[in-house]
């Protein structure tokens, strides 16, 4: 694929100056009468009622936290209550401008946005659709509870009760809450109304909403996503990464046909002026007005505006206009919605950071009081009607609260493994068989022609090892599995840094850019957080993603996205959401301390992630196929030292056809009877070299087992091996302390204690920095280090042959935790 965008000095080396678009502040100027005429009395009255419902809902929660009671209902609520009192105009105004198919992704303070979006969807959806949605949610159990305890005649009234009860039951972590009680206040969601997950991590929804918008664009859906977060989130790097990812120029310059144009995502900042207690204007930020940050992202300044969040009509007007911009392919967009939080950050907020005078000034801007006064002035309602509405809303919330308090809790005592079962679905899709759009037939790619001529086996006719130019390698095995899925499943996209022309930093994708259009395979910015977060959002909307971080050492840059988002959403949604994301992490070498670390233990430690680390071309291909077919999220480790490895275990080499190797099955790579050596990743090869040498020199035969998977992991084959050998050595290139090898050794000690003739050993790298290339053999376990342990500790009667430099007292270091 020839380069299409030139970078030439004459374009840049010219004097000039940059101009920025003007960013409107509080530009809304529609007369109330005009809005009334356009929207009609019913909708205007509903705007007030919706704001009141949000206010009363939050007041109720605040009351439970403060007094353990609301109205005449007593209950102990231990969970969080980040209330949005005073921000109702922003939530209801935004929802007013959105359609049911538009999806919002909220924050820790999103009860109001959730309720408003639900009410808006209920007002727009046909009754039959509402009925179907309520019936099909978790077998209709929530609907049965609503019908029994909150009887109503109109379907829309039932749906409103369903919305409020589903949310409140979830906040109270009850079994019939929207997330089955697995999410709670900060993670509630109900996708049929377009309320996608709220998020307890500040700003985390920005990347997820961006990925969801990517899927909407790829599926040609005429709807948008909204990232909802506070002003404080503008201090979070991942929010900027998401905005930049959403604004990449390539959507216009390189993507084709219907996929051209910016991502349909609106970054909606509910700006309540305080990030907990830190004041964003004048103290913790430099932007002065939040909308200014749009100018940092693209030439359109994200079409940014600051709007009055105390006026739902001003917010609705702005969201309507931005939505049109997004649907026109001109996204993304940003709104700074100023809406003062009149309540505390949480119920333990002593308001030490603001004055009574300031609070009083904003009280006069209360969105509900202002809007009610406007309706009265326009003759739509009188004070009595407003008071009656308020009383009716309070009655509704009280009734919903009674039902939520009375609802059954998640019954973990009678079903102790309930949460465990929600961690993974263990589901796989069928072998993809669809047709996809290609730039050119696969056989036109030189890589594919080149691979077709290679030997499937890594051994030549005389048993000699073939060069990586002449036999299918580990890199090629990965490529073949990926190619199959990419050629037959349009939902699958692949991206990361340098994935396209470069083919990934290590050439795994080389050749794919010849045949796949940009929208299926693209270069991302150096934004690890956005790479992972967007894949999570893409998956929530029905897409599948293959993403890569180039080096496993960059996992730290995407810590929240991997550990809190990718890992947690399946269980936090009680299994309703599926997360088909494969995250490739290449374990390096030669580049020293920040580019050569095996961090498998870090990832395996996090509940909710499957973790694979193949060591041979055959296993790389089969496990990558399983990972791409998986509905569960998978972190796929690869070793840079193995990319050129050819297949020497399978007699017929790497099968040409598509196949899968089940996740979680270790593989005996060499049979033996004197000691079991269980290896993780590339440690397989020194173990095999040690086995060869011990066989020849000492007549000891090692059984070498390649773990292949870390999560899940079937211990049975290893236990069987220990029953035969009586000795266990686990070898890993990770630093020993806290390594996954330690977990394996601890479990195997328990499972095979009676069979062991000596204490199991773990041989990893020292708990030191990885040194440079010249010193690596002194750091990563080598064959002679394995021989040393087997001969000196398992078979002390054989002559030890210490040749490595590991003459330090590793036992003494371990006893001091060093």
């Amino acid at each position: 694929m020839p380069k299409s965008i030139p970078v030439e000095p004459q374009t840049f080396q010219r004097a000039g100056e940059l101009a920025f678009p003007r960013i409107p502040l509080h530009a809304y100027a529609q007369p109330f009468g005009a809005e009334l005429a356009a929207r009609g009395r019913t909708q205007m009255v509903d705007i007030l009622r919706h704001m009141m419902l949000v206010r009363e809902f939050e007041t109720m929660l605040g009351s439970f936290k403060a007094k353990g009671a609301y109205a005449d209902i007593s209950d102990v609520y231990k969970g969080p209550a980040h209330l949005s009192l005073g921000q109702e105009g922003a939530a209801v105004g935004a929802a007013l401008a959105l359609e049911p198919a538009d999806h919002i992704f909220g924050s820790h303070r999103s009860h109001g946005e959730f309720i408003a979006k639900g009410l808006s969807a209920i007002a727009q959806l046909p009754e039959a659709a509402l009925q179907r949605i309520m019936e099909s949610h978790r077998g209709g159990t929530l609907l049965r509870m609503v019908e029994a305890q909150l009887p109503a005649t109109a379907v829309t009234s039932t749906a409103e009760n369903f919305l409020l009860l589903g949310l409140l039951a979830e906040i109270f972590m009850k079994a019939d809450g929207f997330n089955g009680g697995m999410g709670g206040s900060m993670h509630a969601f109900f996708t049929p109304f377009g309320a996608y997950p709220n998020n307890a991590i500040v700003g985390a929804s920005a990347g997820i909403a961006t990925g969801a918008a990517l899927r909407k664009k790829l599926a040609n859906e005429a709807s948008i996503t909204v990232s909802m977060s506070g002003d404080g989130s503008t201090g979070c790097g991942p929010v900027f990464e998401a905005m930049n990812f959403a604004a990449m120029a390539q959507y216009d310059t390189l993507w084709t046909d219907a996929r051209k144009g910016g991502l349909p995502v609106l970054f909606f900042f509910s700006n309540n002026f305080y990030a907990m207690g830190g004041q964003t204007i004048g103290e913790t930020m430099g932007w002065d007005r939040l909308s200014r940050i749009g100018a940092a992202v693209n030439a359109e300044a994200l079409h940014a505006e600051t709007v009055d969040g105390t006026n739902p009509l001003a917010v609705a007007d702005a969201v309507t206009r931005k939505r049109a911009v997004l649907l026109d392919g001109k996204g993304p967009a940003l709104l700074d919605v100023e809406c003062y939080r009149s309540g505390g950050h949480s119920t333990t907020d002593a308001n030490a950071y603001r004055t009574r005078e300031e609070l009083a000034l904003w009280e006069a801007q209360d969105p509900i009081a202002k809007f009610a006064a406007q309706l009265i002035a326009a003759g739509v309602m009188d004070q009595l009607a407003v008071d009656t509405m308020k009383a009716g809303v309070a009655d509704s919330i009280a009734a919903v609260t009674r039902a939520a308090v009375a609802a059954a809790p998640v019954d973990v005592p009678t079903d102790p493994t309930l949460i465990g079962r929600l961690m993974f679905s263990h589901e796989e899709i069928a072998v993809p068989a669809g047709e996809v759009r290609l730039l050119a037939p696969p056989e036109t790619a030189a890589r594919i022609r080149q691979d077709a001529k290679k030997s499937r086996s890594g051994l030549g006719p005389d048993g000699q090892k073939l060069s990586p130019m002449r036999a299918i390698t580990y890199r090629d095995g990965l490529f073949e599995a990926i190619l199959h899925h990419m050629l037959h499943d349009e939902r699958l996209i692949a991206y990361g840094e340098e994935c396209r022309e470069w083919g990934g930093a290590f050439g795994v994708y080389r050749g794919l850019s010849d045949i796949l259009p940009y929208e299926r395979l693209f270069n991302s910015p150096i934004s690890e957080a956005a790479i992972v977060a967007t894949a999570v959002g893409h998956a929530m909307e029905g897409g599948r993603s293959l993403i890569e971080l180039m080096y496993g050492d960059f996992i730290g840059r995407a810590g929240d996205e991997i550990f809190n988002q990718m890992a947690k959403w399946q269980a936090m949604s009680a299994g309703i959401l599926k997360l088909p994301v494969v995250l490739r992490c290449s374990v390096g070498s030669k580049y020293g301390a920040q580019h050569s670390q095996d961090w498998t233990a870090l990832v395996a430690h996090m509940p909710g992630l499957k973790v694979l680390y193949p060591a041979t071309p055959h296993d790389a291909k089969g496990l990558m196929a399983s990972a791409l077919a998986s509905e569960d999220p998978v972190v796929f480790f690869e070793s840079q030292r193995l990319y050129d490895t050819v297949e020497t275990f399978q007699p017929d080499g790497v099968p040409q056809d598509y196949y899968r190797i089940p996740m979680g099955e270790p593989d005996v790579k060499r049979e033996g009877r004197h000691a079991t050596v269980l290896t993780i990743g590339p440690s397989l090869y020194p173990a095999l070299a040690a086995a060869q040498e011990l066989e020849e020199a000492n007549g000891l035969s090692l059984e070498v087992i390649d773990a292949r998977s870390l999560v899940p992991f079937n211990y049975d084959p290893v236990v069987r091996s220990i029953a035969k050998t009586g000795h266990l050595l686990v070898v890993t290139e990770a630093s020993e302390r806290g390594s996954f090898a330690m977990t394996l050794a601890a479990n195997l000690t328990r499972f095979a204690f009676g069979q062991l003739k000596s204490a199991p050993r773990v041989l990893g790298s020292p708990n030191w920095i990885v040194p440079g290339a010249e010193m690596e053999t002194t750091y990563f376990p080598q064959a002679h280090d394995i021989i040393e342990i087997v001969t000196s500790q398992f078979y002390p009667d054989t002559q030890s042959n210490r040749r490595g430099i590991r003459n330090w007292d590793d036992r003494e270091l371990a006893r001091n935790g060093l």
Partner: protein, 79 residues
């Protein structure tokens, strides 16, 4: 006088590469610096330029064949 087109050293671990395609045929005029052929290694694809101007006299390693570092791939006649 003639100049050899030689398979370049492509990093200290690569010993051979495959000829992807020739953009000139024997008898064609070539300019020094002009793209002459593309080669691929397991990890990358790269273009090789003509080391001299003249006529491409012969191609010794055709497309899709593998050649070692230092091997003569073609000869240019600098007439």
């Amino acid at each position: 006088m003639s100049t050899d087109v030689v398979m370049p050293q492509l990093g200290n671990e690569i010993t051979e590469a495959q000829i992807d395609y020739w953009s000139k045929r024997p008898g064609d005029k070539v300019e020094k610096g002009e793209m002459l052929l593309t080669i691929t290694t397991p990890k990358l694809t790269m273009e090789i330029e003509a080391p001299a101007s003249g006529t491409l006299k012969e191609i010794r390693v055709p497309a899709d064949e593998i050649a070692s570092v230092g091997e003569v791939l073609a000869v240019i006649d600098e007439a």
